[in-house]
Amino acid sequence: MLRFIARRFLEAVPVLFIIATATFFMMRLAPGGPFDSEKQVSREVRARMEAHYGLDKPLFQQYLLQMKHLLHGDLGPSFKYPGRTVNEIIADAFPVSLELGCEALAVALAFGLAAGMVAALKQNSAWDHVPMGLAMIGLCVPTFVMGPLLISAFALHLDWFNAAGWFFPRDRVLPALTLGAYYAAYIARLCRGGFLEVLNQDYIRTARAKGAGGARILFKHALRGGILPVVSFLGPAVAGLLTGSFVVETIFGVPGLGRYFVTAAFNRDYFMVMGSVLFYACFVVVLNLVADVALVWLNPKLRFE
């Protein structure tokens, strides 16, 4: 098992390296620079600002410098927010995104697993069609439609929540629901599929022949096989939750990392972009590893390799 983890970390290093390189060159080769919008300053001042950040050096030299900084964990300064380093901004903004992501994931798992299991147990009944119909809605209505609709209904008309902001605990509800809806739907379908397949297996028949009741069959026998597709999905799901947060953070005014990332990209805030991308990539790699470990752990056949 340890070898498995170690191997995965080793695989991750070249991947992160490639990502960093690709991002670097993509940014620098793109038209436009970080100070283009500073219309007020004169040419010379601009040149000096660029020199200050080392942007006048040859491209390859900048690249090597950047890599060196990255290896030391120094993500550099932000252009758009002078006086603040990227590390600081990420340290402030990421916990917000993390909280939102966790809450959305909790919503997705709670609704998704419950709906999927019930739908599989009562296949082709109303308990199957209704949740799966709702799941379809969750899949087909994008976050930026659902968000405004939820705001309109619950915040503006019913006045249960604030329309935006991230100050009170109840401010978490609508954003988490909006972000989690798509994943709840996906998980519900995967879970239903997984459970249906398991419930048709011979070993479930054996359990019935032993006199096992519904709950025992579901939780002791079917669960471990049935949630495998969901666990597989968790890796990409987390990746999606992170990116989906861009939109949700924008709509609900959540001061999270996603918003910073998009604005940084628009503003050509090089170091901020690089920092965010790498940060996300690392995060996703780690989480995927966790999901894969869980997958292997759940399946005894794989565990002893």
Partner: protein
């Protein structure tokens, strides 16, 4: 389960001709009301959007024709779905945008299909180390937040619609590659391929007559299910201002514009949102129906 569901025995010739796999599949699909509904809706929508493309003034207004004097108006006799703050007819924009969204959907899906099928087929046929390497790459890529790269691409390199197809297609090919490779491997091991070899059939003939037909099923299903994901991704990008640019419209653009003025002019959000949701529903129902009809089971989905 040896006896639980008795298998159909060999049919004597008198009971009439058998039906081929595709005929059976079509028959099953036809019985799936939701899937047929989806197919019908898609057909109508596609026809309307295509018509709007060919005859831009079909509703009496073009998608970019402004009427500043009129301004935003709720649905009325002259403008069936109302107008936006610039006085543009929503119906015209909706149909035109639909055409663009559908086109992006189809083209990007085609890109991802091409890449995915080729990649997956090579991995599946090759087997061994090459396959392991290729699939490991796919595993790693699958987990990364690709949308980030698409965003970067679109931000930095401009809003070229061709780039949009390629970027989106490059994100979605992974699943297709996995499916195709899985299917190739499964079919390769089937006994009927061994039997064909034993009968002395040539490699090429085996590939074309036995392996390829068995690939079509999953490919069709997943292509159908990829289109809605692509449309969602495109609308996501448009929402961020990165996809289709004004004055062109796509559903994503329309929804973005509608969300901005949602409180005062709700119809501008509701109609595009509803139409897009309806289209995605239809595609998903159709995809599900195809999956059931062709009896395809994905490995991870």
């Amino acid at each position: 389960m040896a006896d639980s569901t008795p298998m159909a025995m060999v049919e004597p010739a008198e009971t009439g001709g058998g039906s081929s796999f595709w005929q059976d599949a079509w028959h099953r699909l036809w019985q799936n009301k939701l899937a047929i509904f989806g197919l019908a809706v898609l057909g109508v929508l596609a026809a309307l959007c295509f018509a709007a493309f060919l005859w831009p003034n079909i509703t009496g207004y073009s998608y970019e024709q402004q009427n500043l004097a009129l301004g935003p108006a709720p649905p009325n006799h002259a403008h069936w779905l109302g107008t936006d703050p610039l006085g543009r007819d929503l119906l015209a924009r909706l149909l035109y945008g639909g055409g663009i969204s559908l086109m992006v959907g189809l083209c990007a899906t085609a890109v991802s299909l091409t890449i995915g099928v080729i990649y997956g087929a090579i991995a599946g046929f090759a087997g061994g180390k090459l396959d392991m390497l290729m699939m490991r790459t796919v595993d790693i890529l699958y987990a990364l937040p690709f949308a980030i790269f698409v965003i970067l691409l679109m931000v930095f390199f401009g809003q070229n619609i061709i780039l949009l197809f390629v970027a989106i297609g490059a994100v979605e090919w992974l699943t297709m590659a996995r499916i195709v490779r899985g299917q190739v491997m499964a079919v390769k091991r089937q006994e009927y391929v061994e039997a064909a070899h034993a009968l002395g059939l040539k490699e090429g003939r085996i590939i074309f007559r036995h392996i390829v037909p068995n690939l079509l099923g999953p490919i069709i299903v997943y292509a159908t299910l990829t289109v809605p994901e692509v449309i969602l991704l495109e609308s996501f990008l448009s929402f961020l201002g990165l996809g289709v640019q004004p004055p062109h419209s796509s559903w994503g653009v329309l929804i973005k514009e509608g969300a901005e003025v949602m409180e005062e002019y709700p119809w501008l959000l509701i109609y595009p949102g509803a139409v897009m949701a309806l289209t995605l529903f239809s595609l998903n129902f159709l995809g599900d129906g195809l999956r059931d009809a062709l009896d395809v089971r994905g490995s991870k989905d």
